[in-house]
């Protein structure tokens, strides 16, 4: 039976620059998939495009492709990435230009999966009663319409497969689900029907397992973490997929990290909601049907996966401006480090009060004492060597947040003693881009898939 090797080389925008290159060069693969998009990424890219109509995508994708182009062409490796952001056409044009510059004109075809960007259509939807209610609060989108910065539908593996069916060797998508990047190649290679829910669920679960890159090969792995071999050279994951919906998760020979049944279980549960209803555009996968077995060193085999029919809704990701925030910190040293940090907190709050500043939220954490686990951490040692006082505020009023940033650093001179860690300067005011999850009937949105030759 044919085995298709689908490698993940990027778990988020900002992941290892080297990983995709190693995935291509350190062993056999048929596909390289890369996930670039998080909710906040789309709003950053919208802002970039507003300034320059030829931007709004993951630029580092283009330089990475340029480096591996000879390998891709020589070994016919296909690439699937949601690097297109809010401007897949511009991303494609940049890749085409890079390919021609490197002498690969006429040698590689590039497809885009677009149509996910519904920013321009929001008013039309609202007028026609497509409310795009917040899935968590039930509020209609109209309540924040003027503050919306990006709005995208999540397409799935079927849309990626269509780009491959049309002959694309590099598939550049906008907002395609992370799982769809890996499922797409399986649909294309194996010809899985749109209602073969068990197979589509298997491919979706394979995609979920690898979508966070090295987090399924020993990275961020709690079990036996100290004995995980050679983490400096950790291998990124590879799906060995088969037509019957079974697959193995593995990595290239000679790389570091570890793949065992327990380490895979950790990743399966990552960002999990109801394990019987993992909803994607392609299907509803049931994680309680997975059968796992160790299949040799650093190989875990998946079988038995069942799924349910897809819903008739797409998920929509809307980002919107939701005020301002700033976080400042100082480090207090022994003796009485915690007491000094607590004193600084009281002083800072009193000064903010006197200034009459109002915030939607003020949060103080004492890093080294309770920042991660709150009261569960228990009291710190009275002899604790140092404590970081970390205070943050959030407000719709930018001026109040700006004023706050002037109140932390002065504590070095006008607060408790043996304090340091102010070298990074004043706290920075950041715009808060919040996320609005919603649903939309599938019939409202059509993917636009096209192919060009470099």
């Amino acid at each position: 039976m044919k085995t298709v090797r689908i490698a993940n080389g990027q778990g988020f925008w900002g992941d290892s620059l080297q990983a995709p290159i190693e995935q291509v060069r350190r062993g056999p693969i048929d596909y390289l998939t890369l996930d670039y998009l998080a909710e906040i990424t789309m709003s950053i890219m919208q802002k970039q495009r507003a300034r320059d109509p030829r931007s709004g995508y993951a630029r580092d994708f283009v330089s990475m492709i340029e480096e591996i182009l000879p390998d891709l062409v020589e070994r016919n490796i296909k690439v699937v990435a949601n690097a297109g952001g809010v401007n897949p056409e511009a991303c494609r044009d940049a890749v085409v230009e890079a390919a021609r510059r490197r002498g690969f004109g006429g040698k590689i075809k590039i497809a885009i999966v677009a149509g996910d960007d519904i920013m321009e259509r929001l008013d039309d939807f609202i007028r026609r009663g497509v409310e795009l209610k917040n899935q968590e609060t039930g509020e209609p989108l109209a309540s924040i319409r003027s503050r919306v910065q990006s709005a995208n539908v999540y397409f799935g593996g079927r849309h990626v497969a269509e780009g491959l069916d049309k002959g694309g060797q590099i598939i550049i998508a906008g907002r395609v689900t992370d799982t769809g990047l890996s499922l797409g190649p399986m649909i294309h290679e194996f010809g899985w029907a749109p209602d073969d829910w068990d197979k589509l669920s298997a491919g979706t679960i394979a995609g979920h397992t690898v979508e966070c890159g090295a987090q399924c090969t020993g990275g961020n792995c709690l079990i036996d973490w100290e004995t995980i071999p050679n983490m400096a050279d950790i291998g990124y994951p590879i799906i060995e997929a088969q037509k019957d919906g079974t697959f193995v998760i593995t990595k290239h020979d000679g790389t570091g990290g570890r793949i065992t049944v327990p380490s895979i279980k950790e990743q399966l549960l990552y960002e999990m909601g109801d394990p019987r209803e993992y909803i994607t555009p392609d299907c509803v996968a049931d994680f309680t049907t997975i059968n796992l077995e160790q299949d040799g060193t650093d190989r875990v085999r998946f079988s038995g996966i069942k799924g349910l029919p897809a819903t008739d809704l797409y998920k929509v990701s809307v980002s919107y401006s939701a005020g301002w925030k700033a976080v400042g910190s100082l480090v207090y040293g022994w003796p009485d480090a915690y007491k000094k940090a607590q004193s600084a907190d009281r002083i800072a709050r009193e000064r903010l009060d006197r200034l009459g500043l109002k915030f939607d939220s003020i949060l103080t954490e004492f890093v080294g004492v309770d920042a991660c686990h709150g009261a569960l951490s228990g009291p710190p040692s009275p002899d604790i060597a140092e404590v970081t006082f970390r205070m943050g505020v959030r407000s719709e009023d930018k001026k109040a947040v700006e004023r706050f940033t002037r109140e932390v650093a002065p504590l070095v001179l006008n607060g408790p003693p043996t304090v340091t860690g102010f070298a990074s300067g004043r706290a920075k005011v950041e715009e808060i881009i919040a996320y609005w999850p919603a649903l939309i009937p599938k019939k409202e949105v059509q993917a636009k898939i096209s192919v060009v030759e470099a």
Partner: protein, 114 residues
């Protein structure tokens, strides 16, 4: 009976969806899974995360993985970019759950070395 930390019986991973944190709790051995099902209830987890989890706790059983999945609603100060927390994604809540202590048979306690 003896009291042991979940850390001895299970491992875990956590993540976020908006203002909700999820914690997947995985038994080290299939024999420990029924203990988790019986003793690590949604109510106990809600009590354990008092002051952190301000909303409901939902629990899902994943028997094939010998695991439980918990959703801790309203636990991340708004979540995502709204949150002022160091751990805005609840990445360390996995270990926070492993601090919980449960009562098990002496034989189990001896086996896990506590």
């Amino acid at each position: 009976m003896a009291r042991v930390k979940l850390l001895k019986l299970a491992h875990a991973r956590s993540g976020d969806k908006g203002d909700t944190a999820n914690v997947g709790l995985i038994a080290y051995k299939p024999e420990y899974y029924p203990l988790l099902v019986e003793l690590v209830t949604a109510e106990r987890v809600k009590e354990h995360f008092k002051g952190i989890c301000l909303g409901e706790v939902e629990r899902f059983e994943v028997p094939n993985l010998h695991a439980l999945n918990f959703l801790l609603h309203q636990s991340l100060d708004g979540g995502g970019t709204l949150s002022l927390k160091t751990d805005a994604q609840g990445k360390t809540y996995s270990a926070a759950l492993l601090r919980m202590e449960i009562d098990v048979d002496d034989a189990v306690a001896r086996e896990v070395g506590s």
